[in-house]
């Protein structure tokens, strides 16, 4: 492998400035591209102008968001991730600033979450999405530092890591946005475990998590709707018209797609808007109904390709920082995908999380592409410098 990079082919030498492009992971790129195309079609289908009450112009915005995301991701891929390591504290600080800004009067409430900043009336910005890559970078930075001949981070670094994870978690909880908080928990847990912390740390943190969950439940720190969603997940017949409705309609919608689906734009459930938020959090139901098992499984498969390529990149990266960043990203995307798809098919409670690369979204799309950019950057540098 190293021999390959030490003697680049003629074609790659001719490519000159753009040469890192050729060293990107092709599978990852293709899978993301395919997911993006499918996602665009599904967003189109679920926001068609003919649909009563459907927001119009969302497809164009989605395409614009994808372009911006692609630009951001591409730019980051070209950057040496060790350079990013130097700027990680700054990026983290910026993200935290964004989260703080949301809590000031500058923040806006959309769909029950006070997690938006609206710039110029049109451009909506969700800082919590940027908190995900920022936390990945911050944690990797702290936990990559190990003494010679040691494979585990020092306890002090672990404490520090928990500290920098707690800040965004707390800020996001204040919005409140339970889904993103859980993603941050997943990222923190993943990076900590992979960094090699002792089992007692893992056990201890798991215990803390359980205690925290119990406290949250007992002291009713969650919003009523969050509790209802969870209860409805446990017993969907509890409130079939209310909290159980989304869950049930999502399942009906996906199930009615059968093997080959009803065809793009032909979903009766989608057209009737039986599932709310079907272009964002519940976009997977559109895939299930219109593309059937074949299409839905393909999306899961493509996401699987993204995750497995990400893991491969992490495994092959000999630089601890890069490996931790890549693993953190995989944890983030894997968790988000599992929760999102799982809630539409009735195996997870409903949590407001978009499906990476498929759902309509602005900041979320940027964050996803930043994640892919980071993975590619790690992959490219790994190949360049061994």
């Amino acid at each position: 492998m190293t021999s390959l990079t030490r003697s680049p082919s003629l074609a790659r030498r001719v490519a000159g400035v753009a040469s890192p492009v050729w060293r990107m992971d092709g599978w990852l790129l293709a899978a993301v591209a395919a997911l993006t195309v499918i996602g665009t079609l599904l967003v189109w289908s679920s926001t068609r102008a003919s649909l009563a009450g459907a927001p119009s112009g969302l497809l164009q915005r989605h395409l614009l968001n994808l372009c911006i995301g692609l630009g951001l991701g591409g730019a980051i891929a070209m950057v040496d991730h060790r350079w990013l390591r130097a700027y990680a504290p700054l990026l983290y600080a910026l993200a935290m600033l964004g989260l703080l800004l949301v809590l000031t009067p500058a923040g806006e409430t959309i769909n029950g979450s006070h997690s938006w900043i609206v710039i110029g009336g049109a451009f909506q910005f969700q800082p919590s999405e940027f908190a995900k890559p920022a936390l990945v970078l911050g944690l990797a930075l702290l936990l990559a530092e190990v003494r010679e001949d040691d494979v585990r981070p020092r306890d002090f670094d672990v404490w520090l890591a928990l500290g920098i994870a707690a800040i965004p978690m707390g800020l996001v909880m204040l919005q409140p946005d339970l889904g993103t908080t859980l993603v941050l928990v997943a990222i923190t847990a993943g990076v900590l475990i992979l960094s090699g912390v002792r089992m007692r740390w893992i056990a201890g943190l798991a215990g803390v998590a359980v205690v925290a969950a119990v406290i949250v439940w007992q002291f009713q720190l969650l919003e009523a709707y969050q509790v209802n969603r969870f209860m409805a997940f446990i017993d969907p017949s509890l409130d079939p018209r209310g909290a159980g409705y989304n869950s049930r309609q999502a399942l009906i919608t996906i199930g009615s797609g059968e093997v080959f689906g009803k065809g793009l734009f032909n979903g009766g459930q989608t057209t009737g808007k039986f599932v709310p938020e079907q272009h964002t959090d519940f976009v997977f139901t559109v895939a299930g109904e219109e593309l059937g098992f074949v299409g839905a499984a393909a999306i899961v498969g493509l996401l699987g390709v993204v995750l497995l390529r990400g893991l491969k990149i992490a495994r092959e990266c000999e630089d601890r920082f890069g490996a931790l960043v890549a693993s953190g990203i995989v944890c983030w995307l894997a968790f988000q995908m599992f929760i999102n798809v799982g809630m539409t098919i009735g195996i997870m409670p409903i949590t407001g999380l978009p499906l990476p690369f498929v759902s309509y979204g602005g900041t979320a799309t940027f964050a996803n592409f930043i994640a892919i950019g980071l993975l590619q950057a790690i992959h490219i540098r790994e190949r360049s410098y061994g």
Binding site: G196, T253, G255, G272, G288
Partner: protein
């Protein structure tokens, strides 16, 4: 790095497990249970709205409407749309109430859905079906509603077809009525995909019920795609309604009207105060029904738009004479002397010479009891011809008694011949005629078997009474109580025995024999026609609105009289003399031009215990070659010759145009079906009396959905009698039908029906309907 590598492998496994879990669950949901979710999804995505079909008309033989459709402006409220309003439509309903001039609460109640805790008034149909709140809206009101739609969102005014009865009260029981169909009835129907909408009507009696399947047409169904709020976002499918078939009957509207008018006249006669009357006109040649009347009657329009409870109770009440029941098909009464044609046929069949002469004494001893002629008059020796003309009873008592003796008397032989019973059944008595109307009555032919059944049912009570006696009667009438006790004792012991008194009464249409006016008409039609018993039919054909004949209906031949042509001819000639000379109906026909139209017939006066006589006249004309049979029955009317025959005369005058315009010019019913024109209308041939009545037949189109010209079909025929006339018309004595009637002559009354010393009668009036039940179940 090995620690990190190993933990990474764990993550790897974790990711792969997640992917497998998701794919597995997808397989389960989409592939394994997919079909189930498709069904569920279809149910939630579409809403069916029923578009009612226009019901077919009912026409008379030449195309005059008996039941037609009138357009009516109906205001409906779409409750789904109201429920989406912020105030749940309160404001709209308030404005609507103001416009219609009704309290808003009233409308609120009507549009709410019926439920376990919501009782009427409420809407029993589908929530997606617009709820009709008013069906008598004036055109200006409807226009206001349509023009000010922004003030009345969800409120619509539509033209809807509503039943209209040009004949008013005439033949109401025969035509029948409509009621909203119930969920259960809908589920029983085959092939109807639409769900219960609450707007469908079903024929509940008469022709409307009998031919409901044809008349009702097929409702259209509009399947809408709805979103999760129930808002309509598109039309999935649309099936236009199909107008029902037009029912062409053999009824002649004018003859029908004349029968009703003649019966009405006698019903109103203050001195007699009959409690019911019926008239049947049959076509002898074909067995078709030309008129079928029963009084008291009512105007079927009271059913339109839902009958009120007081009005319904009025229809059912004894006091008003139960106008819902047709006495023509369901009134079971003793036929009296009209039954003698059966006795003559039975006697001749049994070997009595047709041309023999028989003594007609004033009384005839049956067993140990005297049976008297009418008013005890002796007529001397006479032939059977004369016996029919003067209606001698004693000749038939003798026949019956001798036949009874030949069958073994009190100890009957193994296989008694019972010639009269056999002949009665051959004439079609004791069973339904099979007319195309629901719930026809059977009538009753008394027999040994019937007596035994009755005895078995009543034995226990009779034996108990034989021991305990009748203390409650004893207080008032000790003699009667003693008699009743003795009667009970004998009935207990040998009430099953067919006694000579039973046979004698039977022979003159008294005692236990019961017939319906229709049965009698069918029997006479067979007798004076070709000897074949035909199951009468009112319907001639079912025709599509464009004139295409769907089904032609011919009265089927269901039997043949075992009577030779010679005997039938003999009787026909005899009956021709009843209306002249010494005949029992000579009086009423004394001024009738018999030389032009020779009306023949037989009178009947049936005695009913505790009530006045039932008057009968069974007639036919022309006597030489009979074309029509007219049977008239007046319950509690009096003498057949004095009460029933004059009514029949009026009917004959109308048919042939005696002293008035002929209802059936030439005395011949139309041979073909009315001429349907291409546009669906029927041209009624012009006649001297009336201009042709234009009849509009609805085409196969979605009429109710389109605002039309509501006024253009308003050609209401004012009813001859208003429905308000009905109360107080009855005599309060019961209805003149039912098993108790005409059978219950009690002991010791001295009537010809009384068994007297001869032997105890099987029955007390209050034990009367006992024996019918086991028989009915067997059929």
């Amino acid at each position: 790095m090995s620690l990190m590598q190993s933990r990474m492998i764990a993550l790897h496994v974790f990711v792969v497990v997640m992917l497998v879990v998701l794919a597995g669950r997808l397989w389960q949901v989409q592939v394994m249970r997919g079909q189930h979710f498709v069904t569920v999804a279809n149910k939630t995505q579409t809403r069916a709205v029923v578009v009612p079909a226009v019901r077919g008309q009912i026409l008379d033989a030449v195309g005059r409407p008996l039941v037609r459709n009138r357009t009516s402006l109906v205001v409906s409220v779409d409750t789904m749309e109201l429920s989406r309003m912020p105030d749940k439509g309160k404001a709209v309903i308030g404005r609507l109430a103001e416009l219609l001039g009704r309290p808003a609460v009233d409308i609120q109640k009507r549009v709410r859905l019926c439920g376990p805790k919501v009782s009427r008034p409420c809407w029993p149909g589908s929530p997606y079906q617009p709820v009709p709140v008013d069906d008598h809206v004036s055109t200006p009101m409807a226009l206001q509603l349509l023009e000010r739609q922004e003030e009345f969102p969800g409120v619509s005014a539509r033209v809807q077809a509503v039943r209209d009865y040009p004949l008013g009260d005439d033949g109401a029981q025969m035509l029948g009525y409509l009621q909203p169909v119930t969920q259960q009835e809908l589920e029983r129907r085959v092939g109807l995909k639409a769900s219960f909408s609450g707007v469908d009507l079903v024929g509940r009696s008469g022709l409307e019920a009998q031919y409901d399947e044809y008349l009702r047409g097929k409702p259209g169904v509009r399947a809408y795609n709805v979103d999760r709020m129930g808002k309509i976002i598109g039309t999935e499918s649309h099936m236009a309604p199909t107008t029902g078939d037009t029912l062409v009957t053999s009824i002649d509207a004018r003859v029908q009207a004349s029968v009703d008018a003649a019966l009405d006249k006698v019903m109103r006669r203050a001195k007699d105060r009959p409690d019911g009357a019926a008239g049947v006109v049959l076509d002898v040649k074909t067995g078709r029904v030309i008129a079928l009347s029963s009084l008291p009657t009512y105007n079927p329009k009271i059913w339109i738009g839902g009958i009120s409870d007081p009005a319904y109770q009025r229809l059912l009440s004894e006091k008003n004479g139960k106008p819902l029941t047709s006495r023509a098909t369901n009134g079971e009464l003793a036929p009296g002397s009209t039954f003698k044609v059966v006795s003559v046929a039975g006697a001749v069949k049994d070997g009595y010479p047709l041309h023999g002469t028989y003594d007609c004494p004033g009384t005839f001893r049956v067993g140990n009891r005297e049976f008297r002629n009418f008013e005890g008059v002796a007529h001397g020796r006479m032939n059977l011809h004369q016996a029919l003309v003067v209606s001698c009873d004693t000749i038939f008592y003798r026949f019956a008694y001798e036949q009874w003796q030949r069958d073994g008397g009190i100890r009957p032989r193994a296989k008694p011949r019972d010639p009269l019973e056999a002949m009665s059944r051959a004439f079609g008595f004791g069973r339904r005629t099979g007319i195309d109307l629901p719930n026809e009555a059977d009538g009753r032919i008394p027999s040994r078997e019937w007596k035994r059944d009755l005895w078995e049912v009543t034995r226990e009570e009779n034996c108990r009474r034989a021991r305990t006696g009748y203390p409650e009667v004893h207080r008032k009438d000790p003699t009667r109580a003693v008699f009743l006790k003795r009667l009970a004792a004998e009935n207990c012991k040998e009430g099953y025995v067919w006694r000579p008194g039973d046979a004698a009464n039977f022979s003159i249409g008294q005692g236990d024999v019961l017939v319906t006016p229709l049965q009698l008409a069918v029997a006479y039609a067979a007798l004076v026609g070709d000897g074949r018993i035909r199951s009468p039919r009112i319907a001639r054909a079912l025709v599509r609105p464009d004139g295409r004949v769907v089904k032609e209906i011919t009265p089927p031949v269901v039997g043949r009289l075992p009577v030779s042509d010679e005997v039938r001819d003999y009787m026909r000639r005899a009956l021709a003399d009843v209306t002249r000379g010494k005949g029992t109906a000579a009086g009423p026909f004394s001024t009738f031009p018999l030389d032009r139209v020779h009306v023949a017939g037989k009178t009947g006066t049936a005695e009913v215990y505790g009530k006045r006589d039932t008057a009968w006249f069974a007639s036919f004309a022309p006597a030489q070659d009979p074309r029509f049979v007219v049977v008239v029955m007046v319950s509690q009317g009096g003498m057949g010759g004095g009460v029933a025959a004059p009514i029949a005369r009026e009917i004959w005058e109308s048919i042939y145009g005696v002293g008035r315009p002929a209802a059936m010019p030439g005395g011949v019913p139309p041979s073909g079906l009315p001429a349907f024109q291409a546009d669906g209308t029927v041209r009624v041939p012009p006649d001297p009396r009336h201009e042709a009545i234009p009849v509009k037949t609805p085409r196969d189109s979605e009429r109710p959905g389109r605002p039309g010209r509501p006024g253009d079909q308003e050609e209401a025929t004012p009813p001859r009698r208003g429905p308000d006339d009905a109360p107080g018309e009855g005599t309060g004595d019961g209805t003149g039908e039912g098993p108790g009637e005409g059978t219950g002559e009690g002991p010791g009354e001295g009537t010809p029906g009384n068994a007297g010393e001869d032997g105890p009668r099987a029955r007390e009036p209050d034990a009367d309907d006992g024996p019918r039940r086991p028989r009915d179940q067997g059929e």
